[in-house]
């Protein structure tokens, strides 16, 4: 825009890596403490995803060392699938490049995080990222990579043949950071990561101290998530236009709908098209802009469309999640609940949660909350996060839980997590998710109340039983002495008489 005083503005475009170089706090690299945490998080996310891809139980080893006053060396080694050699440079040295843009649940999704850690390392210590990787098909290779920030392209500094005995990837970064101030958060993050991924073993080496190990708490490796066709609710005009462009121009509109979307059979497609007066045989190339808009509105609001398929999601599951929570916390009562699958803007999602009484924790009016998104624990930016805000909308006193040390663990999984920022700490307010959250929290409140009532009832019954048994034993003893017979087993008689509820068998309760 021209100015009145001869200082003409200069119009330019910047690359995405330049954008995040200038605004690194948006990606979680705003200060040296958070930077250490974010770098660890991005590396571990990638490692766990690579292990899921390989279908193995993850063994992830993280080393952190303060190697100068300002600089921390971070190494993350995994037994995952390895990275194909031709993808190493771009995966680590190019923002918005990656393998995770498919619509299925992964920890990483942006093609941003690890590159951001590399970029931060480069601009603060001037050191490249080092990658040593081996896939099933390759013997192993070592890379050193820098980033050309202005152009958003990788600079490969070194490539060496370097055999590895085991498949997997080892990444080393040097970043400006203060390990001493960051280490508590990092340990907490890795510890909680084994709730999100209970079948993982995570080992931490901090400077010279002896290693810490968390997990595995459960041995079941979850099924690999699969990509599904988009759900009709995601059909904005942009998507429809892309689908039309990628199919033969003579294709019938009905066939486009049936073949492109999930949960949309021929019958539904016909009903929907007749509702908006578009002929089922209309060739897709001759749809007008208005047709496309009408179609988009119809797909997003039509009643007869089912909820999305669950195969692109990977919830933790009741057993693994309860096992992990019980392994990490000293717990009194604990319950689990899961929401049905639903969608936001067409993206499938579901929620699961655990509510626990943790006697060591302090009592609060509102339960404490630990948040997870696609199996990743979220530690920062609780205040404006939807998962936390909704906790305050529930009347916990209604469940008798306002004077108990209740800890909630809530997990949102989705093919797309609506993070508020690229730093992935906080969930945006999405009405569909908010609705399911309220239901989930209420269910957890109800289940926990029932579980406590159950245990109080059981305690009362068991006390009554013990008292009765004592008297009964005396009477039986007296009777058997009178009758001169052997003393019978009174305990079993008493138990059958009382039928004490076995609380552990209750659904969703451990």
């Amino acid at each position: 825009m021209s100015s009145h005083n001869d200082e003409r503005d200069i119009f330019t475009s910047i690359s995405p890596s330049e954008f995040f170089y200038r605004n690194r706090q948006m990606a979680g690299f705003g200060n040296p403490v958070q930077a250490v945490y974010s770098a660890v998080r991005e590396l571990v996310e990638n490692s766990l995803d690579a292990c899921d891809d390989a279908g193995v139980a993850p063994v992830v080893s993280v080393s952190l060392r303060q190697d100068s006053a300002n600089s921390v060396a971070i190494t993350c080694a995994d037994n995952g699938s390895g990275v194909p050699y031709d993808q190493v440079a771009s995966s680590f040295g190019q923002v918005f490049y990656g393998s995770k843009y498919e619509e299925r649940q992964r920890r990483g999704t942006f093609g941003l995080g690890v590159t951001m850690a590399v970029l931060y390392g480069q601009i603060t210590t001037d050191m490249p990222v080092e990658i040593h990787t081996k896939t099933d098909a390759t013997p192993g290779r070592f890379f050193r990579v820098f980033i050309n920030v202005e152009r958003n392209i990788p600079i490969v500094d070194t490539v060496l043949s370097s055999d590895r005995s085991e498949r997997g990837t080892t990444v080393t970064l040097h970043i400006r950071g203060e390990l001493r101030r960051a280490q508590e958060r990092v340990i907490e993050y890795l510890r909680l990561s084994t709730i999100g991924t209970p079948h993982a073993r995570i080992i931490i080496h901090l400077n010279e101290s002896s290693p810490l190990t968390f997990g595995p708490w459960h041995l079941q490796t979850p099924a690999r998530t699969r990509v599904m066709r988009p759900h009709p609710r995601s059909a904005d005009p942009e998507l429809l236009r892309r689908l039309i462009a990628s199919n033969p121009p003579t294709m019938r509109i009905q066939d486009l709908l049936v073949e492109s979307f999930q949960q949309l059979g021929e019958r539904t497609a016909r009903r929907l098209l007749s509702f908006i007066s578009i002929n089922v045989n209309h060739p897709i190339s001759s749809l007008s802009r208005e047709d496309i808009l009408k179609l988009s509105n119809a797909l997003r609001s039509f009643d007869g469309i089912d909820r999305p398929s669950a195969i692109s999601l990977s919830p933790i599951g009741a057993e693994p999640m309860l096992a992990a929570v019980q392994a990490l916390f000293k717990i009194d009562r604990v319950v689990y609940s899961r929401s049905p699958i639903n969608e936001w803007q067409g993206n499938p999602f579901l929620l699961e949660g655990v509510a626990a009484i943790v006697p060591d924790f302090s009592v609060m009016d509102v339960p404490a909350i630990q948040r997870f998104a696609n199996r990743v624990p979220l530690l920062y930016d609780t205040g404006d996060c939807l998962l936390n805000k909704v906790v305050h909308d529930i009347r916990w006193s209604h469940y008798g839980l306002n004077s108990r040390p209740v800890q909630l663990f809530v997990h949102l999984c989705s093919t797309r997590i609506p993070y508020k920022a690229a730093g992935k700490q906080s969930i945006a307010s999405i009405p569909e998710i908010e609705h399911e959250l309220i239901v989930l929290y209420k269910n957890l409140g109800r289940l926990l109340r029932e579980s406590m009532r159950g245990s109080e009832k059981a305690a009362r019954a068991s006390k009554r039983m013990r008292e009765f048994a004592r008297e009964f034993r005396l009477i039986v003893k007296f009777g058997s002495e009178l009758a001169e017979v052997d003393l019978p087993d009174t305990d079993e008689l008493v138990r059958r008489l009382f039928e004490v509820p076995k609380d552990e068998e209750r659904d969703n309760t451990a």
Copy 2:
């Protein structure tokens, strides 16, 4: 990463507009209510910046109309500098393109916001953005622009000659949204915008109702901000390497430093170079990687470097800010304070604030806060925002303010605002800013306490004076009757005797 079950991952790169298409909640377009607010905000920010560029008092007119059940038409018209014709398409249709990447205070900075509003409009209503603009040098032209999201390039749909009598720009968008639920926020945003920009007149047309007008509250047009050379504290290796590449290879390192940075004269440069044992005559082309890292560390930590220059910043100022706050709120006492200029990661910033007693507001333990960044009010995501978090770290009872209806208005200005997300609602935790914030809030607390004490003292003194004056008048009257002279002017005598403090003249207090 290759997988165990023959599903090979596909590696791809995506464009920045594709990224924000997928993650629109990051840019403030997560739901139809916030989308209306964000679109208005981005348009108004651009308009006010264009008026600053033109050096005129802004007159910005915003119209919002629910033009179908799902769609809102938003028009924003300004009297700013206009957009050069050859920049219209990219400015409105390309993410990360703009005129605001220079290091000076502007409302917009990312080259993202308006394009994001256009993108959201396109994917929800399939409508292009319409721009009618005229600069000093041109008669006026009309454009219709779409975005090619996958490639992040504009698609110019229409260009028409269309004269405008006055310089400026009018932009119209159609987006999915619910005006009824968004309008309160939008009005609040525009109202508060006249605190950030007290010399602006903002007019709002909502559907068919009669227009609302806010401002101007103060007639002084601020000086245009100017670009300064970078401050030495921003000299990471990336920046140094860019400076070296853009200068002649034979240039002496001392000259590079002195010519590239502000607050770095020859003497300081010599001392700094000798401190890290680099010869002042060393040609820049032969600096090793280690030299550059040493230099970077020295520039970022060397003691003898002054705080940055203020000419790239534009605080609101005491008089305009107080005038605006007093125009918009019914206020009892009000004070203003400003921090000295400082830098975070080399970016100049300063803070200013107003603390007011607003009798209509409810009393709280901690003052309510209204946040501004580069003159823009921030309405969402208060919980995790640094400006808000620090308020809770101050012991307000120390200033006797914990039982008063105190409202704070705080303004952060910087050449770069450390927003947590591209949606620009919340400030990240930056240690340097946090430090100055604490000082500012304490100053405001102290000033407000003094102002209240001052006014109580003045009230007591004035009461004493009135009582004395009544008696004095009687005595003088009695004396003058006895002496048979005319009655002298007792009021002036009393005033001189008491020397009542005139509170309005106190610094920073109104």
